[in-house]
């Protein structure tokens, strides 16, 4: 299946076009800054930093964070197709995807609690795990180029 994917015209375009791969990488780093940037600030707030900002203030920012997520899911799929068979066997890549998957679910949980003003003791725990997941996702993502 991944061999088939690697030979689709989209995958060949990403792999062979002079600008498609760098273009997708550029989108991917901007999306990364938006997603991890906003969510790490939210996690730090939930952990007790900059108390002057109300936690509910982050709700309007969440749309923007999810937009960044969409940018990275899309550019990520394009990047993946060009080397699908290599990526599915890469441990750092699989760890990265697992972290993003769980991180996205936790983001939704945090968002729901904030919009219902239902912050409780569990929020700090969720924020710590969320922050760690994004750190591991970045680290593992960078290591896909090396391992």
């Amino acid at each position: 299946m991944f061999e088939w994917l690697e030979n689709t015209s989209v995958a060949l375009w990403v792999g062979e076009s002079l600008w498609a791969y760098p273009f997708m990488l550029s989108l991917h780093v901007i999306g990364l800054a938006i997603v991890v940037g906003i969510l790490s600030m939210l996690d730090l707030r939930l952990l007790g930093s900059f108390k002057g900002i109300r936690t509910e203030s982050f709700l309007p920012l969440m749309k923007f964070a999810w937009l960044g997520f969409l940018v990275n899911a899309t550019s990520g799929v394009f990047l993946f197709t060009s080397q699908a068979t290599t990526f599915v066997q890469s441990k750092p890549f699989l760890i990265k995807i697992a972290c993003i998957f769980v991180g996205a679910i936790l983001t939704k949980v945090i968002q729901n609690k904030l919009s219902k003003s239902a912050s409780d003791g569990s929020m700090k725990g969720i924020a710590v795990v969320s922050l760690l997941l994004w750190l591991v996702a970045i680290t593992a993502g960078r290591l896909t180029a090396y391992i």
Binding site: P22, L25, S26, V29, I30, L32, A33, I34, V36, G37, I38, L39, S40, M41, L44, S49, F50, G52, I53, R54, E56, S57, P60, L61, F64, W134, L135, I138, T139, G141, R142, L143, A145, Y146
Partner: protein
């Protein structure tokens, strides 16, 4: 810059960065975490200053600044080490050169904010729609830092000049 780059090659830092095989990927990872802190904080601070997210108390957004500076410090440190580890590659790279110009512009823009906007900010209501000059400065910041990000990522793909 090329002469400076040549003088680095063979030096203590150059030898250290190039001899420790795990250092480069570790520094790249730190550079990515740093850019997330820097951009994450600035999206909120400059986004609010540009007139978005009016529900956020504008004075409170500046409590994020320490994290922005931590991100900048991480990236300045790792960035200098990248340069010392491969000076000839960066010195002649157009992407790197423009990136550095943009960092300087972003820095001057931050000084402009500090000089013109910061002193009058304490008189603003928490839900203020900032004046035009503040919005201009906020947009310059967002655009230049996005440019820094783009050019940094494109360094391996652009030619020398």
């Amino acid at each position: 810059m090329e002469a400076f780059a040549q003088s680095i090659e063979g030096g203590v830092i150059y030898n250290w960065v190039t001899s420790v095989y795990w250092l480069w990927p570790l520094m790249e990872t730190i550079h990515f975490i740093g850019l997330s802190l820097l951009l994450g904080g600035l999206i909120i601070i400059d986004g609010r200053l540009a007139g978005f997210f009016r529900g956020v108390n504008i004075a409170a957004t500046h409590k994020l600044l320490p994290w922005v500076f931590i991100g900048f410090g991480l990236n300045l440190t790792t960035g200098v080490l990248f340069f010392f580890g491969d000076p000839m590659r960066y010195a002649i790279n157009v992407g790197f050169q423009i990136k550095m110009v943009l960092v300087v512009i972003a820095g001057l823009n931050a000084l402009w904010f500090w000089w013109k906007i910061n002193p009058v900010m304490q008189d603003w209501e928490p839900d203020v729609n900032p004046p035009g000059l503040a919005k201009v400065i906020a947009w310059i910041s967002l655009v230049t830092w996005t440019g820094v990000l783009l050019l940094g990522r494109l360094i391996p793909y652009v030619s020398t000049g």
